[in-house]
């Protein structure tokens, strides 16, 4: 595997290898000297066309713990209409000898384009409404750490599936790893064509909860209301928000996930976000280990 553009790039064996490697690397994070010499002399470029402090910092920390040289490009706003094109940027990075480019971009497919112009590895750190494969890996890692397995798990992914790269990547990866995914959303927030996905769909959160091992809440943009995807924040929270009474409908062992940042009180109630079932802070910590594993496996074997 040269690039990680989509969760579809991961076979079950490769994905499991990433998760196992992340588990070993997590021990490093617990040590006093949080560094491995593995990627010394390698250059990792973080190319961020969208602000996402948490993802950027997570990748930076991962690369630094593997002793790579890290260069961060934050390309503010939409630089594309004016100024340097993505292709010109790719050629610059190529000339600088970037071994890996971690790219976050507002346009779906931008990492695919970049991969066509670069010799090094491209890691998709979120592209438009398409995918965010390392988020899916860290989610899978978190589920496996909490529940001991992935095969046969029943995972409900709830909210704005239409615009969610997290949902797209999770559906694919979880399917590959043998979990059963149910997408729960109002019909306006499910894509036309979702029936082709390896997942079932439901409009009724309450019906899905009793049979779920994992409930993954997606962030809902408040602006969607202005575009009539749903009538009001209040109605959304009532029908699709995860509050304490709904959590009581879950099986005893079930966990609650959220990729962050959260709209507390909209898709998730504060007391649920802060409860012991919630894995939200673990997800952040696991993100670094999983991204270390991805960099290690993409770059570690080379030269």
């Amino acid at each position: 595997m040269q690039h990680l553009l989509s969760a579809d790039d991961l076979s079950a064996a490769t994905a499991t290898e990433v998760l196992d490697t992340a588990g070993e690397l997590a021990n490093v994070t617990g040590r006093e000297v949080k560094k491995l010499p593995t990627l010394r002399g390698r250059t990792v470029v973080n190319l961020f066309y969208e602000d996402s402090t948490r993802t950027r910092i997570s990748f930076e920390a991962a690369a630094k713990r593997l002793s790579a040289d890290v260069i961060t490009f934050s390309v503010k706003g939409s630089s594309v209409a004016k100024g340097e094109s993505l292709k010109d940027t790719a050629l610059t990075l190529q000339a600088m000898g970037a071994d890996a480019v971690v790219v976050r971009h507002g346009a779906s497919g931008a990492p695919h384009r970049l991969a066509g112009w670069l010799d090094g590895s491209v890691i998709n750190a979120g592209d438009g409404t398409h995918e965010h494969p390392t988020q899916a890996l860290l989610d899978a890692y978190t589920m496996r750490a909490r529940l001991g397995r992935l095969a046969g798990l029943k995972v409900a992914i709830v909210g704005d599936v239409l615009h969610s790269r997290v949902a797209r990547s999770n559906v694919r990866l979880l399917h590959t790893l043998g979990a059963d995914v149910t997408l729960v959303a109002p019909p306006t927030l499910l894509p036309v064509g979702v029936s082709a996905w390896p997942a079932t769909t439901s409009y009724d959160l309450d019906a899905v909860l009793p049979d779920s091992d994992v409930v993954m809440m997606l962030r809902v943009q408040r602006e969607r209301m202005g575009d009539s995807y749903f009538p009001s924040v209040r109605e959304y929270a009532r029908r699709y928000g995860l509050d304490a009474p709904r959590v009581r409908r879950l099986p005893e062992h079930a966990i609650v996930m959220h990729p962050g940042p959260m709209n507390r009180g909209m898709e998730i109630a504060p007391e649920v976000a802060d409860s012991p079932r919630s894995t939200i802070t673990e997800q952040v910590a696991n993100g670094v280990s999983v991204r270390m594993a991805v960099l290690y496996l993409l770059l570690g074997g080379k030269g």
Partner: protein, 425 residues
């Protein structure tokens, strides 16, 4: 003026015969015509078609001469077997006045490779707010008969009604780019399974169909002529079929790419496949092919849309929609429909010439007919090499694809614009 003797050619798929071109017309047709002083073209195995006519070409001049000019687009057209093209109005400045349409028309005359028939904008600046001076364009030297805001839909139903009514005064036709704008905000490709997977905002079939349904009703109500540009969905075909059955004066075109390519080509996010309307599904392609065969779709039109490398070598969302078409249209049509020469001549020449009011074009080579014709080698296979295309742009979706048929020669009023597959000037 040279005269030409074309020997042993099949006229629109008929038996081999000779054609003599003299003084801009087809002087004689028959076997074993005497050579006299004519230049002889050995056309054994070739097929003669009436010169192709494109109802839908973007020549980009004025305004985007870096993508195409009237001269470069005319050369591409001649090499594709065309003798006339209708130049769409979405230039900069927009072709919404007599001055601009005459300018385009004169540039076409100067290039001298095909007849360039300007299309006039329906509304000022393509803004969809008020009518352009349609009558002035009709009365200009360019004698405009087709009006279109192509690239934009005339979305306001009242304005569309007025446009349809107004052009009845000079037997004009409104060519609608059928796209309900509210249903396609942010749209990047066909809405369906592929768009759901790729995370690209969908352009639903219903956005096209809703406008066609509405406009067919408006055209029926006011008794006017309506033409639907680049039909792309199975549902649109059914709406047009039903309207025609009721006697509505509606005609329709389809592009070669909508007859061949489907939305799964978008999988690699290569913007060369980005086009408006978008590539649809297998089911739509099958319905469009059937509609061309049975005549519900009258015309195959290229929607030739040149774009510079900068406008295409970028992220999918930022790329301009459109693809080249003039030099590959006949081959794509041949690959889809096979050597049904009557059908190809009709959809690529006779019908577009009739609808565009281009009386010298779209006539089978016969004694007395204007010598606008093209000679095709149906046995040839050509691999599409973007660098070798005559267009100033390179955005062909067929790069590397082997297609049947090669245009050997094109004649405009008896003079060759293409000979031995090469442009004469």
């Amino acid at each position: 003026m040279t005269s030409f003797l074309i020997k042993g050619v099949s006229v629109v798929g008929g038996p081999a015969t000779d054609l003599r071109l003299r003084d801009g017309t087809v002087a004689e047709v028959g076997p074993d015509l005497p050579t006299t002083d004519a230049e002889v073209i050995d056309a054994a195995g070739l097929v003669a078609l009436p010169g192709l006519v494109d109802m839908h070409t973007h020549l980009r001049e004025p305004g985007r001469e870096d993508a195409e000019t009237v001269a470069t687009g005319s050369r591409a057209a001649a090499l594709g077997g065309y003798t006339a093209v209708c130049a769409m109005a979405n230039t900069d400045p927009v072709a919404d006045t007599a001055g601009v349409v005459e300018q385009v028309w004169r540039l076409g005359r100067r290039a001298g490779l095909v007849d360039v028939q300007p299309v006039g904008a329906v509304t000022v600046g393509l803004r969809g707010e008020r009518l352009s001076e349609l009558g002035a364009m009709a009365e200009s030297a360019a004698a405009v008969r087709i009006f279109s805001d192509d690239g934009h839909c005339v979305a306001d139903p009242r304005l569309m009604r007025r446009a349809l009514e107004y052009v009845k005064a000079f037997d004009g036709v409104i060519a609608q780019h059928a796209e309900e704008p509210r249903l396609t905000e942010g749209a990047q490709m066909h809405e369906g399974e592929v768009s759901a997977r790729l995370g690209l905002t969908g352009w639903p079939a219903v956005a096209e169909e809703a406008i066609i349904a509405r406009d067919a009703l408006l055209a029926e109500h006011v008794g006017a002529r309506l033409h639907i540009c680049h039909v792309s969905t199975a549902g649109s075909v059914e709406l047009i079929r039903a309207a025609k059955a009721r006697g509505v004066r509606v005609s329709a075109e389809v592009t070669p790419h909508h007859l061949l390519l489907t939305d799964d080509r978008v999988g690699g996010y290569d913007p060369v496949f980005k086009v408006n309307p978008p590539l649809r599904t297998e089911r739509d392609v099958a319905a469009l092919r059937e509609a061309v065969r049975d005549g519900v779709i009258d015309v195959i039109a290229t929607d030739h849309a040149p774009h510079t490398v900068e406008d295409k070598e970028c992220e999918w969302a930022y790329a301009r929609p459109g693809m080249l078409g003039l030099q590959t249209a006949l081959s794509v049509a041949l690959s889809v429909f096979g050597p049904d020469w009557r059908l190809l001549a009709d959809r690529l020449s006779c019908q577009p010439a009739r609808l565009a009011g281009l009386t010298g074009h779209g006539v089978d080579p016969a004694p007395g007919a204007p010598a606008n014709l093209t000679l095709v080698d149906p046995a040839a296979q050509v691999t599409v090499e973007p660098a070798e295309l005559a267009s100033r742009s390179r955005n062909t979706p067929y790069a590397g694809l082997q297609l049947p048929g090669r245009v050997v020669a094109t004649f405009l009023r008896g003079e060759p614009t293409v000979l031995d597959g090469k442009a004469v000037k």
